[in-house]
């Protein structure tokens, strides 16, 4: 299996997510993550979809996605020539005796503490998946209460 990133320009019509996810389910492909939001084109949304498929089925899934009337454009983004970002919110157990250690760890990853309570802090981090996983590994021993992990968003590097 291999990971492919599809960046799609779509019309934000009712049922679009169902159409896309239904197509993947029907054709037997796995979706790793899917995010969507407004794009630079008025009325069009950009959807970043991470699919776990071999390259030949990927071509088939791309063709099938292109047949969806609400899908305007699809490009595949290569990780080595793209900026990839994921967003993470982690609630970590942190009583006053360890709170400073957790805060330092977060700073090492250029993550931010965005909420502090008596027994826990919330850490916010942005980056590529490997960095976020490293942060998670280090926070694990303190006791992770909750993880909220966004899907991947990505943009091609360069002028175009």
């Amino acid at each position: 299996m291999s990971i492919h990133i599809l960046s799609m320009l779509v019309e934000n019509r009712p049922g679009l997510l169902t159409r896309v996810s239904g197509l993947f389910a029907r054709r037997g492909f796995n979706i790793e993550s899917m995010t969507a939001g407004p794009s630079e084109v008025p009325n069009l949304f950009r959807m970043t979809l991470v699919a776990d498929v071999e390259s030949q089925p990927l071509e088939q899934v791309t063709k099938q996605l292109n047949k969806l009337v609400d899908v305007v454009k699809i490009v595949e983004l290569k990780p080595e020539t793209s900026v990839l970002r994921e967003h993470l919110l982690i609630k970590v157990k942190a009583d006053p005796t360890v709170r400073q250690q957790v805060v330092e760890l977060a700073q090492l990853f250029r993550a931010r503490v965005v909420d502090v309570a008596s027994e826990a802090v919330v850490v916010e981090a942005t980056g590529e998946g490997t960095k976020l996983n490293a942060l998670l590994d280090l926070l694990e021993p303190y006791g992770v209460k909750e993880i909220v992990h966004s899907g991947l968003i990505a943009i091609a590097r360069g002028n175009r």
Binding site: G15, T62, N66, V69, K73, E76
Partner: protein, 631 residues
């Protein structure tokens, strides 16, 4: 950006014209998209006045030059019916259930090339169209289904007869839309029409809430259709076309593998011209039957699970398969990895997603079949003028198969041979007749036995295999071709599914003719149980009496009850007379109840999931095919 995906990237465009460029539109559609009035002035008709959403539905259908709609009034679609009742140019055909209405629309579409239009209410009525949409999708039949929906303020409340039909239809439509405001009705229908008829045809569902039908809006026509994500490629790549011509000229064992795309593109004449220019054998899938006239010396019949021995083995021995509007369906290929193992593949289709989906294409060509064939023939002539392969050894092999393994007519138990009945039916009815089938043994017998001469005359649920399709589809075809002879070919169980539509035929004065190949069983399933489940026939024998004359119901009597003529045929000597009697009865429908042994099977056959090399000519009899040109 990977090259794999950029090939299929679509260009963004902000506004598309309502009238697509002529090249992208099916010829039948082109006429429909012209402004309906003031053709002399040459200016598009534009008028603005307030209409209800329901009236706008009808006005749009009139602008599309729809002449017939098939459906049932009820509940949330009544405003549309109210407006339809006032239309001078649209006839309505009411059937007994929505699936039949949809199949009638398909029969209309398959026999004319124009979109079928069906109309249904909300909830279960709309859901009754779901299997029809699947039929139309898998066979690429242009269809617009209009369903009523509960008022928009009730959506999501589990209201009476509320169902999420747009959700249910997503996997079985080319596109589906919901309209909740009167002003959105016309844009939705214009989009639906363009989508259903342009590129690879297919079904589009438009679900309209009751308040959208009742609300008022200005009607403007023509209007712009904005579909930035939809622009099919119709013009083929010239280099690829040349590649195909070069391969075809060089091939020593070519086969033209013709599918329904050639019919949808109205390209049968171009296909015949190419076939005759290159001399290659032609096989046609079930949706393409008639593209090559039965009896043509280059025509080998239907390939696949229930195909002829020459058609199946030609593909297995080919060095070049030219797939034209065909999709390498499992019923054609058998185990795909062993299909046509020695062949290079030229694959032409208007849908890029079909190319290399199941079989890697050596020469992929995306385009409209009419354009591709139009381009390919002159290039082939030019290329082959410099030399082409000698096909005589190949034809020697194929003609050997033809004479060794002709189609057969079986009649165990001295009952009727269904193949012979169908052949005589076709011969006596003539080449202009239409034949609509359900799904099962009778369908396969008909596909192989009817002497079809033109495409669009064999109307069948090919890819979906929906039982009960025959009679309503025949009704739709008869509506479109009132002067033609239209036969429904059904099995006894299929006729029990939709036979009640005989009442519609009788009441509407549509003298459809029906032949029920009555074997008192679910014949196809029974055959499989006989062959692959050690004869353990579970629930496939439908009759308790061994004597066919005691089977229930008596279809001849049932026909009379519906106001049709009913004739039971139990002896081979009665066949011609019964068929002639049916052909001369035109004041009402006719039902021929043809008694067939439950043990009559379809042969040849390739067992499910194995290589087509394992084709059986008769039960337990494999053809000998590794002779001279074979290896």
């Amino acid at each position: 950006m990977s090259t794999a995906t950029t090939k299929y990237v679509r260009r963004y465009r902000t506004v598309a014209s309502t009238v697509p460029s002529p090249a992208t539109v099916h010829p039948h559609t082109r006429a429909c998209l012209q402004p309906a009035r003031n053709p002399e002035e040459g200016e598009p008709m534009t008028q603005e006045n307030m209409l209800t959403g329901a009236q706008i539905v009808v006005r749009c259908l009139e602008e599309f030059r729809v002449t017939d709609v098939f459906g049932l009034p009820g509940g949330a679609i009544l405003p549309v019916y109210d407006a339809l009742g006032a239309s001078a140019s649209i006839s309505r055909m009411v059937l007994h259930q929505q699936q039949s209405a949809g199949h009638a629309a398909m029969g209309y579409a398959l026999s004319t090339g124009r979109p079928g239009v069906c109309v249904a209410g909300s909830g279960p009525a709309a859901m009754g169209l779901v299997s029809v949409l699947q039929d139309a999708l898998v066979d690429s039949v242009p269809m617009v289904a209009i369903t009523g929906q509960v008022r928009s303020d009730l959506i999501g409340t589990d209201a009476f007869q509320e169902a999420d039909v747009v959700g249910a239809s997503l996997p079985v439509t080319k596109h589906s839309l919901q309209v909740t405001r009167a002003e959105d009705v016309a844009p939705a229908l214009a989009s639906a029409w363009e989508l259903a008829t342009t590129g690879r045809p297919g079904p589009v569902l438009v679900d309209i809430t009751q308040d959208a039908q009742e609300g008022a809006a200005a009607f403007q026509w023509p209007l712009r259709v904005d579909l930035p994500g939809f622009h099919p490629v119709t013009k083929p790549n010239a280099k690829q076309v040349r590649q195909a011509a070069v391969r075809l000229a060089a091939s020593q064992r070519p086969v033209l593998y013709v599918g329904g795309g050639v019919v949808r593109a109205d390209a049968a004449a171009a296909l015949r011209a190419l076939a005759e220019a290159c001399g290659a054998p032609v096989v046609t899938t079930m949706p393409a039957l008639g593209v090559m006239p039965d009896g043509h010396p280059q025509y080998l019949g239907m390939p696949g699970m229930y195909g002829t021995v020459p058609a199946v083995l030609a593909l297995q021995r080919a060095d070049l398969v030219v797939a034209l509007g065909a999709r390498f369906a499992d019923r054609v290929t058998g185990r795909a990895s062993t299909f046509a193992p020695m062949a290079k593949v030229v694959h032409v289709d208007i849908d890029p997603a079909e190319i290399s989906k199941l079989r890697e294409a050596d020469v992929p060509i995306v385009g409209d079949l009419a354009e591709v064939l139009g381009d390919l023939l002159p290039v082939y002539r030019e290329v082959s003028a410099h030399g082409h392969a000698d096909l005589a050894p190949w034809w020697g092999y194929l003609n050997g198969l033809r004479s060794s393994y002709p189609t057969t007519e079986d009649a165990p138990d001295r009952l009727l041979s269904p193949q012979r009945v169908l052949r005589r039916l076709g011969e006596l009815s003539g080449p202009d007749s239409y034949f609509a089938t359900g799904s099962g043994l009778h369908q396969v017998w008909a596909a192989n036995a009817l002497p079809l001469q033109e495409p669009g005359h064999f109307l069948s649920p090919c890819g979906a295999g929906t039982a009960g399709f025959g009679l309503p589809a025949a009704l739709g075809a008869k509506r479109a071709h009132p002067e033609a002879t239209v036969w429904a070919v059904e099995g006894d169980n299929g006729f029990q599914i939709s036979g009640s539509e005989l009442a519609v035929c009788a009441a509407a004065g549509l003298p459809v003719k029906v032949v029920v190949l009555n074997n008192g069983s679910l014949g196809m399933a029974r055959q499989w149980q006989t062959l692959f489940f050690d004869g353990n026939r579970v629930d496939t024998d439908l009759q308790s009496s061994p004597s066919p004359t005691e089977w229930v119901p008596d279809f001849a009597k049932l026909a009379e009850a519906y106001g049709a003529r009913g004739i039971t045929v139990s002896d081979p000597s009665q066949v011609d007379a019964a068929v002639r009697e049916a052909l001369s009865t035109n004041d009402r429908p006719v039902v021929l109840n043809v008694l067939v042994s439950p043990d009559t099977m379809v042969w040849p056959m390739v067992p499910d999931g194995v290589s087509n090399d394992f084709i059986q000519y008769r039960r337990g009899q494999a053809p000998v095919f590794d002779s001279e040109a074979g290896a």
